[in-house]
């Protein structure tokens, strides 16, 4: 049992990542504030990155995982920029960033 807890391995990182992921998902699901949702997305992306790096370190033996992590970071940056721009746009139009108020896509 000691070995399991103290010998830090792949699973430990995966569990951390899982917890961050679940928290991010929770954040995304329950927030009414659009920026809050964006925060949750960032959490999710980070959890994915932890997985990449962990697998890269423990399993693959090459840099593919790290490369992908960098791509994800890049995407996160792009996503944050666009997302926030949209949030600002929504704010301008609806005077609110409450997602419940924004339902003009309703079919």
């Amino acid at each position: 049992m000691d070995g399991l807890l103290l010998d830090i391995g792949l699973r430990h990182f995966l569990f951390v990542s899982l917890i961050v992921f679940v928290l991010g998902l929770y954040c995304v699901l329950t927030r009414k504030n659009a920026i809050g949702i964006l925060l949750g997305v960032e959490l999710i992306l980070n959890s994915a990155n932890i997985n990449y790096i962990a697998f890269s370190h423990f399993s693959s033996g090459n840099y593919d995982g790290q490369v992908f992590a960098i791509f994800v970071i890049m995407l996160a940056a792009a996503e944050a920029v666009i997302g926030l721009a949209i949030v600002l746009g929504i704010y301008q139009n609806f005077s609110s960033i409450d997602i419940e108020a924004v339902d003009s896509l309703q079919g």
């Binding site: 504030n33 964006l38 033996g61 970071i73 666009i82 005077s95």
Partner: protein, 171 residues
């Protein structure tokens, strides 16, 4: 307790703890600041995983870039119309239920799967290897990424332009 385990648990606690604040805090500003802790913790985890380059990128980009951006947005929306910087949550019970299922299943997977593990995790400076990878097999995605960033840049400018808001406001 070995040093490595200690460091890991500290970093994990930092990460998860601040993530909890992000997810649960009622104040958006707190949430945003707590994200700082998460990012730092994750960066630490990267370093622990011998991914020095990514860790540095994480600090620079996430903390220096994205987080600042988010904080600006929070402040900006706060200031413009002076609305309550609330961070109310909705539908917690179903969310918890669903996430319970997801989390459990994934946890079971993580716990039971036979992960491929190299006997000797590599520990070496990674910058050279990553550079090789980017300019070698990943040259096309790498170039595409620059295009994507450019497009995102232009897109953000276009979306937040004043003229576009007219028709949308009418609709």
């Amino acid at each position: 307790m070995p040093l490595e385990a200690l460091v890991f648990y500290l970093l994990a606690a930092l990460t998860i703890g601040s993530a909890l604040i992000v997810a649960l805090s009622h104040n958006l500003v707190y949430s945003a600041f707590a994200l700082l802790g998460t990012f730092m913790g994750v960066a630490g985890l990267y370093a622990l995983l011998a991914a020095d380059f990514v860790a540095v990128i994480q600090v620079m980009l996430y903390i220096g870039g994205i987080l600042v951006l988010i904080l600006f947005a929070v402040m900006l929306t706060h200031r413009i119309a002076d609305v309550d910087v609330s961070n109310r949550t909705v539908g917690r019970i179903p969310a918890v239920l669903i996430l319970g299922v997801v989390g459990t299943v994934m946890g079971v997977c993580i716990g039971t799967a036979e992960w491929v593990q190299h006997a000797e995790p590599m520990v070496e400076p990674t910058t050279f290897g990553i550079g090789e990878a980017f300019l070698g097999p990943y040259i096309l995605p790498f170039e595409l990424a620059s295009v994507v960033l450019l497009v995102a840049l232009i897109g953000a400018v276009v979306v937040s332009r004043k003229e576009l808001r007219g028709p949308m406001a009418d609709g």
